[in-house]
């Protein structure tokens, strides 16, 4: 039981603001790395020798989509908080919103993927369609009947339209919700109208979220092999996204708390709930991942099994087995303990560990495709099909560090912009006195 109930006297009336000068150094370094890294990446994507361009396109896609899942997850937790009329999360809601607000920025890193110069190494179906020169359907009818049947969905104008919608739609949603929330911090008569408004607008926009996480996964990742399909794909990516954005939220909250912020409004109880969500989504991820594997393995359909054949060939197999234990068995057993979830430090270690496993997960989603696709698309440049391209992982590291630094920069920037918790939310005391 807590010592004494938190009262309104202990809520910072003008908000709890991060001292921006304290993070200025980190922010500056992150910005610098992001700037230099992105410049180098653009060179590698567009101007370097073709062999490098081809393999780096995959590096960029991996890093871009990895960080996009974290931002999308921030939007998800914001929407879920609002729509479920949740009381517990009010103290940490601003962190959800801050993480979500990196989405528009992180989506900008997908711009290189809109250029045919990059697409030609990633999306074979686009090459086949571009070879049609105008009369695409007729061309497909002759060369690839599968693409002919998929044409209503997999065609370039629709693809571009969709991608623009994924970029704009969820950005508007999260910017709007965050504005609504932060405007309350300084309102002398806060009232409940914003609360109800946020709840209402989170209902139908949750559909935009669901479409975004599902179909960015289809358009950017599943499209890497146009013959392959999985009905679990969207849910699979969602599970990883919700899990790891919660890991980021835990890390941010634990950091803010250790820096003396979020006083009175968060306690071990909040970390306990966030830890339980981390645990729940660890199980959910395993459930969905196994379901996908199981269905494909059982059915044994050629188009579907290719995904796991590629990823269980050579050393990829070790990584896949490591994923089973590292992403599920180990965190499952560790996160079972209640004391650990109530302890911000111990939970942060698990959150950081979960994020490392997410890197492995997304590496295995994107990268094993590289050696196969490049050898398929341009054997005269990239050589025969191979399990992995030697030396290409340096590009993966560069892309990951560049976009990661940008992610850190935009997240810190968002955290520093407003109060760290919604200090005038009508539910702030309910949340501060949480007991579970």
């Amino acid at each position: 039981m807590a010592h004494h109930p938190v009262t309104s006297a202990e809520i910072a009336i003008h908000g709890d603001h991060l001292d921006n000068s304290k993070v200025a150094r980190v922010k500056g370094i992150a910005f610098f790395i992001a700037l230099v890294g992105t410049a180098a990446s653009l060179y590698l994507l567009f101007l370097a020798p073709e062999k490098t361009r081809g393999s780096f396109a995959y590096s960029w896609l991996f890093a871009f989509y990895f960080f996009l899942t974290l931002s999308i997850g921030g939007c998800f937790w914001t929407l879920l908080h609002n729509v479920s009329n949740s009381g517990w999360g009010t103290s940490v809601r601003r962190t959800f919103e801050n993480l979500g607000s990196t989405y528009p920025w992180m989506f900008l890193f997908g711009i290189p993927l809109l250029f045919p110069q990059v697409q030609q190494y990633l999306y074979e179906w686009m090459n086949i369609q571009r070879a049609g020169h105008g009369n695409v359907k007729e061309h497909l009818h002759h060369v690839d009947h599968l693409l002919y049947n998929k044409y209503w969905f997999m065609n370039l104008p629709f693809w571009y339209g969709r991608v623009i919608f994924w970029g704009l739609g969820l950005s508007l949603v999260i910017i709007g919700l965050r504005k609504l929330s932060t405007a309350q911090d300084t309102d002398p008569n806060p009232g409940t109208s914003r609360l109800l408004k946020a709840r209402f607008h989170s209902t139908y926009t949750l559909i935009i979220f669901a479409l975004t996480i599902t179909f960015t996964g289809f358009d950017f990742m599943m499209g890497l092999d146009y013959k392959w399909f999985s009905t679990m794909w969207g849910v699979y990516l969602f599970a990883g996204s919700a899990l790891n954005s919660m890991a980021v939220i835990i890390l941010v909250c634990a950091w803010l708390k250790s820096a003396g912020h979020l006083k009175h409004v968060t306690s071990g109880e909040h970390f306990h709930i966030m830890g339980k969500l981390l645990f729940a989504f660890t199980v959910f991820w395993a459930y969905i991942t196994f379901s996908q594997y199981f269905l494909i393995w059982y059915a044994g359909i050629t188009e579907e099994t290719s995904y796991f054949l590629i990823r269980n060939t050579g050393n990829w197999n070790i990584a896949m087995i490591a994923l089973v234990f590292g992403h599920f068995v180990v965190p499952f057993v560790i996160l079972l303990q209640a004391w650990l979830k109530k302890n911000p430090k111990a939970l942060s270690i698990m959150a950081a560990y979960t994020l490392c496993m997410h890197v492995l997960d997304h590496y295995l989603i994107t990268i094993p495709e590289r050696g196969i696709s490049l050898g398929n698309i341009k054997p005269e440049v990239f050589g025969e099909i191979q399990v992995a391209i030697p030396g290409a992982f340096w590009g993966d590291i560069l892309a990951f560090v560049s976009i990661g630094a940008a992610f850190v920069f935009f997240l810190l920037r968002a955290i520093g912009q407003h109060s760290l918790y919604p200090n005038r939310d009508p539910r702030i005391l309910e949340s501060a006195n949480l007991s579970n």
Binding site: M1, Y293, F294, S435
Partner: protein, 185 residues
């Protein structure tokens, strides 16, 4: 009237509210009693802490119950599907690497065995079902299912003392303090 002496179960005291019960529980815990219990119409958050209750051993039962389920399912599926009667479907091999096919059964039996251990382990630990409880002899005790908050301290507690325990209960705010005696069999 019967001349046989009745066995004393202990003292029963009523408290005005959930918070009064909570505070009283903390004081009884601090006076070192072991054999006593709180009775309330609804669950009270944190009362286990106020009573100084130790963590239940049940999770360990459930853990081993669940493990037994996993092992049982694996043994069942492996011995029938691989050893005794290998079923070849779509040219898939029948060996230890077909373990994904056994996962649903392993998962389900883990849940089933865990569920059984929870239910029967809990019943064993709280000694249910039982036909009667000595406190039912009290005329006021039925209110514990309606609007009464009670604490009962058992006479078999080593710290129990007919006078001192009674005055302790009165001191911490207990009303209608009653010495409950077991009914004749």
């Amino acid at each position: 009237m019967s001349t046989t002496r009745k066995r004393v179960y202990g003292y029963l005291a009523e408290f005005k509210s959930a918070s009064a019960l909570y505070k009283a529980a903390e004081k009884i815990r601090d006076s070192g009693f072991r054999k006593w219990d709180c009775y309330s119409p609804y669950p009270i958050h944190g009362l286990d802490g106020a009573m100084g209750m130790k963590r239940s051993i049940l999770p360990w039962f459930v853990f081993f119950g669940g493990m037994t389920g996993t092992a049982t399912a694996f043994a069942l599926a492996y011995s029938t599907q691989v050893v005794i009667y290998p079923t070849i479907v779509q040219a898939k091999p029948a060996n230890i690497f077909t373990i994904p096919a056994f996962f649903p059964v392993m998962f389900e039996l883990t849940i089933l065995f865990s569920g059984f251990t929870v239910l029967f382990g809990l019943l064993a630990l709280i000694q249910l079902p039982r036909l009667n409880h000595p406190l039912f002899a009290s005329k006021q005790f039925h209110r514990a299912t309606d609007d009464g908050f009670f604490i009962a301290i058992e006479a078999r507690d080593p710290k129990f003392n007919p006078e001192k325990t009674r005055s302790l209960l009165a001191e911490i705010g207990g009303d209608n303090i009653e010495l409950v005696e077991e009914e004749d069999a």
